[in-house]
């Protein structure tokens, strides 16, 4: 058990290291010369040389990689090329905004999906289940930005119920923020709930097909009680894995939605940094996204082990 967890942990750390190499290579070595991109075509050789020295580009890539990684681990993310502000001071407020939006969506989506999943397992192949699964197919098929745009058109531009853009979330007034972020949150619900509902349904149905549930049924235990006392707790392992996977998706998939609503989150920062070719910012945002994604994958992984008594006691 402990060994298994240890192995997963080591794997997660190795993946993170591999990610850092990929991010570094993608942003530092491939795009040719950052300096000419920064200074433009007309830069004098003198200027280019000074700039290279200033950015430390005269050193070999491997040395720069380790310096970059070391800086990352100690919290020194470098300076933005465009604004010259410390990367951490740019990134942290954006990270907060993204995490809060994701948390807002997760707090509503997780319990609601589990409830709907159990209900559609209880009424499997009946009208409720079929309707829900048809709606799900539509929701997973429509891209986030199209859902977001439709919501903006109907609920913001036409009905004036919610703001269409959120330049500045008002964190001092929680009630106001809940209203401000309603449409992005709703978009996230649409895109992530379908998956969680279907997995919950599948996991519960799996348990419902087991011998002890059949026995309970034969004994005359009411169906609702079987669902809640027997099926749901035993289905919790796979369900929570799916929840963790979806949180990882939520964090990285939120970028598109942030762009639609002009929301000052990390995803939009990354997209903007790419168009400005602001390498330190691209590196920092990409690393944070990858780290969060890997973290939630890791949680999903060990969650399915820890919560499954059979695997846990097997070793």
């Amino acid at each position: 058990m402990a060994r298994l967890l240890m192995r997963r942990l080591i794997f997660a750390v190795l993946t993170l290291l591999a990610t850092s190499v990929i991010v570094f290579v993608a942003t530092e070595i491939l795009p040719g010369d950052v300096v000419t991109a920064l200074l433009g075509q007309n830069a004098t050789p003198e200027l280019v040389k000074n700039m290279r020295l200033e950015l430390g580009l005269d050193q070999p890539p491997i040395q720069r990689y380790f310096e970059w990684l070391g800086g990352f681990l100690t919290g020194d993310l470098g300076k933005s090329l465009a604004s010259h502000a410390a990367v951490s001071s740019v990134v942290l407020p954006r990270l907060w905004n993204t995490v809060m939006l994701a948390a807002y969506a997760a707090v509503i989506a997780i319990p609601l999906s589990i409830a709907l999943g159990v209900l559609s397992a209880a009424y499997a192949e009946r009208v409720f289940d079929r309707t829900l699964s048809t709606v799900s197919v539509f929701l997973v098929s429509i891209p986030e930005f199209a859902i977001a745009l439709a919501l903006v058109v109907f609920l913001a531009v036409q009905a004036h119920w919610f703001p269409a853009v959120i330049y500045k979330p008002d964190w001092n007034h929680p009630g106001r923020v809940i209203w401000q972020l309603f449409l992005p949150m709703l978009t996230l619900l649409c895109t992530m709930m379908a998956h969680m509902i279907r997995m919950t349904r599948a996991a519960v149905l799996d348990v419902m097909a087991s011998g002890y549930v059949e026995f309970a049924l034969l004994k005359g235990v009411p169906k609702a009680r079987i669902l809640l006392r027997h099926a749901l707790p035993n289905a919790m392992g796979p369900v929570l894995s799916v929840v963790a996977l979806n949180l990882g998706y939520l964090i990285s998939g939120v970028a598109v939605i942030e762009v639609v609503f002009s929301y000052p989150g990390l995803g939009r920062l990354m997209v903007d940094s790419i168009s400005y070719r602001d390498m330190p910012l691209i590196q920092a945002t990409a690393m944070i996204f990858c780290a969060l994604y890997i973290f939630f994958n890791f949680i999903a992984d060990i969650g399915s082990v820890v919560l499954n008594p059979r695997i846990m006691h097997a070793s």
């Binding site: 993608a26 539509f138 997973v140 997209v271 691209i282």
Partner: protein
Amino acid sequence: MTAGPISLQVKSASLRFPPVLASIGIGLVGLVVLLAVFGPWLEPQSPSKLIGGAFDPPGATLLGTDVLGRDVFSRLIAGARLTLFVTAIATTLGFAVGAIWGFAAAELRGWFDDITESLVNILLCFPPLMMGLLVVSALSSSLPVLIGAIAFIQMPRVVRVARSVAINITTMQYVEVARARGEGLFSIMIHEILPNSLRPLGVEYGLRLTYSTLFISGLSFLGLGIQPPDADWGGLVRENLPGVQLGVYLPALLPGLAIGLFAVGLNLIVDWLGKEGARPISEELR
């Protein structure tokens, strides 16, 4: 060929006329494919020609004009062509490489299989959208890079599915017989594994197509996919966003709707194909 592989799949029941939802799916996908293929003859205008003012309402043209005064309907058809082109090529490429790799891992086992498994596990740990953004920012948003990136992102998922499907097949007696007969790796992959894994692979191919469509649309919507003046459906949504503030919704909403309907169509078909004992459709939608 004597004693060919025994076909275990395709019960006659599965060849019945598709149910309502699947028929709708086939209709939607078929419509988009027809639009893409016969687009050049269907477009009333050249998709890049300025024919009026910005955001003219429908009337003179079927769906009005876009942000620069080009025909919305013609651009929608041209967008179908580009979206479908990138999606089909990228998915097929990633799928072919992934399937061959997965089959080979299942048949060869040993160190090759071990390396495959670790590599796939690592590749699956990267958030796809972020990887796509990184690749595009490092290289360029040219068509070959976009197609290569999407194919590469799909590949590990296909390897995993192909391997797990093939592993059940490689333990069958007819594969042992084939080996004893002296068939090589490629012969076994083509004559034994492939015919017996068509259904699960078909389901997976459909899923990957949906995924590629959403992925390229998302990239283009962010401005990092297909570059103007060409536009796929995601790019069309992006370029017509200014209209939303002016109260002109159709040019931005229609391409979004088109992506949705195409992906819904694909999903309905996949759902139907996967009904018989295959894994849940939504399992790897991201």
